[in-house]
Amino acid sequence: MSERMALNILDNPRHLARLITMIERQDPARIEVLKALHDKTGKAHVVGITGPPGSGKSTLTDKIIGELRNRGRRVAVVAIDPSSPFTGGAILGDRIRMMRHATDEGVFIRSLASRGHLGGLSRAAAETVRALDAAAYDTVIIETVGVGQSEIDIVRCADTVVLVAVPGLGDDIQAIKAGVMEIGDIFCVNKADRDGAERVVRETRAMMETAIMNGANTRFSGLYKAVYEHTVQQARLRGENVQEDPHGGALRIPPVLLTIAEQGEGVSVLVDEILAHHAMLSDTEWLLKHRHENTMWELRNAVADNLLGWLDNANAHSQLANAAEAVLHKDTDYYQALAQVQEGIIAAGLRLVSD
């Protein structure tokens, strides 16, 4: 089944849909299929759309799909909504805004429930993106759950992150708090027909300009320096005069755009910027650099997940139980117990690896 499935997902969306279900269920059989697909991955441009609940991410995604289709691209969407922490159920409603694309062969939309995963994505997100990438979608959009101030998993999964903001969510101290604001490659102030949109734009720009002045290590400054060098080099190759920037691109800040997604206003410019960001990444070393970091992160998390799974099963349970008892009976102190448990676990873990 799996080899055939791997070959089939290119032209059979049902197999693709099934594979994603296997990924969601963490079905071990998915691994053979994903292995067989590995060579086909790495071509898609992965775009993250993130922002607070109600900021218009789904409507914006719907309009972005339309614009990318007009430009001849095949588009896949992974739309993530939260699972109920009490029942494990979920209402996945992002798709409502995108139903006009339901019969378009060049669009594939899949809703995922977060299933208890914090961070704004689902545990299945990264593998799902790879499956869609292998199925030859040119752009894979990930719409995160509505985020607050710390759900930044999306930067580990996407090449380009669009941060959607809306007017009226708070004063400028919200904008200078660390967290979600720092992860955007493109900023989009949606519902721009509302009062205060221009102010959000000003505050967002001011925040980034201040970060540069303070010498903060921002996500964008390295890319912009590399882009500047690339542009200068290309111009010299063509024998053109170059307008030198004494700061070497270091003062450039990401675009801050106004959109009214409901009416499609500003979406064409937003898509221009999304594609331009991809071009900047591809022209420099930064696409590979990002993906290398992201793969390292994913490997690290997979190891941590496996260790945690192993800790939770019976192997480690008795060690933890004994250590807890020793602490409670004052046979040992907490830190000595911890050190002993860790030693035991590392030894057992090494045996596990060598087996």
Partner: protein, 133 residues
């Protein structure tokens, strides 16, 4: 392996009454299911394509316009065309008793008319899934 029942709740046809569909969607969620809600006025083609991409175990349709004798069988036909025979399909809404045998013959597993307790529908789904969830 973590397995969840995935249900597409859809409103085919032109009526704008989705209160029942939303109540049912919430009940399914509270029963631990993952519910993909498609919104109002969907064509059978849109519903079936969404069901395919979302790889759902169940399609639950609600209709109050009276067009069920046309739209429900059309959804079944499209599902068969795409070899999606393993999807459980149920219907609800204002549907006269005399229409129910014909809809069942077309492949709708059960019809739930107004007044049905949501628990009844949930039990039916759990007992009649065609795919092992």
């Amino acid at each position: 392996m973590e397995q969840k029942i995935r249900v597409l709740v859809a409103k085919p046809g032109l009526d704008g009454h989705d209160r029942g569909a939303k109540v049912v969607a919430r009940a399914f969620r509270d029963a631990g299911m993952e519910v993909i809600y498609t919104g109002l006025r969907q064509t059978p083609e849109q519903i079936v394509n969404a069901a395919l991409q979302e790889d759902v175990d169940v399609v639950a349709m609600s209709i109050l316009s009276g067009a069920h004798n046309h739209l429900f069988p059309r959804v079944m036909e499209l599902l068969r065309e795409k070899n999606m025979d393993d999807v459980l399909v149920i219907g609800g809404g204002v549907i006269p008793d005399e229409d129910i045998p014909g809809l069942k013959a077309a492949g709708i597993a059960e019809i739930f008319t107004p007044g049905t307790a949501t628990g009844t529908t949930i039990e039916f789904i759990k007992n009649n899934l065609k795919r092992k969830a």
